[in-house]
Subunit: 291 residues, 2 copies
């Protein structure tokens, strides 16, 4: 089974288990809306590619870890879209969860996805129980305090936020969770895999800011111009458009260079370059190709 | 250290770790407000009493599990109080989290507490790594789909809800998580500990409904009459006041009888009777004492 198919199957199995045995039906509809909405599965595919580069001795463990990362990504989008944050009516070109199902089910769907993520790691790790603790810890670091997604979002409620810290937490942390967590799932030392997650997450954030500012297709499916509208700190606001494009080029290359030596290193480097190009707005992508 | 001190220390340590190293400060204030607000710690004390009855061979594991149960309880209260649910201005006689810190930080504090709960189990289980998977699974079952707290809350968005299913999920599930999860933390077979959690959770829900209907002091610190105001299904609405008091008596006795045979069984049965009486409104408590 290819990476994407493994991810989709693991997500489908987890949602089906949650929907079983007399579960209230609407929340599962809301979860499905959030989870199966045409997302590119960038983070879990990265995670599985890392696990494969490490030999992937327990594919259930790595698939569980990768799927958990995607669940948390989708949970963060559902809560970010709530009226008290972005108040977004759309996501990925479709109606947002709170607009479609109401605010109570949007809050609960996000909560349920967070819980489901941890449950999926525990279930996936059943044949490698000694690795579950490390995987859970890498997942909670990616999402919680002091430096995960929730911390990043909480900076929006503070009077002063360092733009690079904000981005590292809101976007980079989950990329680190994917590389570190899937290295642990594969029984490898996670330390050497952290820089790849950090650098790719940083590059991805710049690509997303550029898409937002240039009016291209935003990979997250938000209406463009949201960052400016919400007065949010962005790399484009800090460096200007050209500066941000140059920064993206450097960052993609740095991410590819951060792949540690291992059997699958060359393939993984190629994947990083390809993914990063796919995410960049066309003008930026052309520059990266020519560089 | 007594049970309560172990719980408070584990909670304090987890919050301090989340607040370290440049974390955004306001969300930690919101978490502290939610977590240290005079709650009776009923569920984690029950969990530690179960672990002790099982010999408690790894006190860090049981303390982590018990503290995680309390974090999830508090997370559910913070999200339940949000404007889109109960829109409660007060909780335990103090201003609610969203009233004090705003809705964004209330959503995020709840999210952070859910994540912190799983992280705390993984950290507590570091000397018993083979038990972490079971503890994580018991925690996610208590909170997630299909039968945990989130499922219970999601029934409020469905046209038809079975009142006993609703209560079992909104209240009972976390009591089961406490008994089952702490039995696992102590290396015991969790199966025999499930009925105690179920029966005590059910008794506790009746006590809470009675307090709400009789205008006594609600253990959760909600303004009384909330259930009627919110048109919520309650045992009192179903059975009447006297019927609910009789049901509470039966349930407390059934919970005490459900303590499985073990070294600490007698002490645990006495604790169950004492806790349940403490929770009941005075009129009901007098009946239970006389019975």
């Amino acid at each position: 089974m290819d990476r994407l198919a493994r991810i989709e199957k693991t997500l489908e199995d987890a949602v089906a288990r949650g929907a079983a045995d007399g579960s209230p039906p609407k929340i599962t509809e809301a979860i499905r809306h959030a989870l199966f909405s045409g997302g590119a599965r960038v983070r879990p595919q990265l995670g599985l590619a890392v696990a494969e580069a490490c030999g992937d001795p327990d594919p259930r463990a790595s698939a569980g870890m990768a799927a958990a990362i995607e669940m948390l990504h989708c949970a963060s989008l559902v809560h970010d879209d709530l009226p008290c944050f972005d108040d977004a009516d759309e996501r990925r070109g479709r109606i947002s969860v709170h607009k479609a199902f109401g605010e109570p089910l949007a809050v609960l769907a996000g909560d349920a996805l967070i819980v489901m993520a941890f449950e999926t790691v525990a279930r996936g790790g059943v044949a490698s129980p000694q690795r579950i603790g490390g995987m859970i810890t890498s997942l909670s670091r990616a999402v919680g305090l002091p430096h995960g997604i929730v911390a990043g979002q909480a900076w929006e409620s503070e009077p002063d936020a360092d733009v690079s810290v904000y981005h590292a937490q809101k976007t980079g942390a989950l990329f680190v969770g994917a590389t570190v967590g899937c290295a642990i799932a594969a029984g490898s030392d996670p330390g050497p895999w952290r820089p790849l997650g950090e650098k790719l997450g940083a590059a991805y954030q710049v690509a997303d800011d550029l898409a937002d500012a240039m009016g291209g297709v935003d990979d997250l499916g938000k209406p463009c111009g949201q960052d400016e509208k919400n007065g949010r700190p962005t790399i484009v606001a800090e460096l200007g458009l050209q500066g941000a494009v140059r920064k993206l080029e450097m960052m993609v290359r740095a991410a590819a260079d951060a792949v540690p030596d291992c059997n699958g290193a060359d393939e993984l480097r190629a994947l990083v370059m390809m993914q990063a190009k796919r995410l960049a707005p066309q003008q930026a992508a052309a520059k990266i190709s020519a560089a």
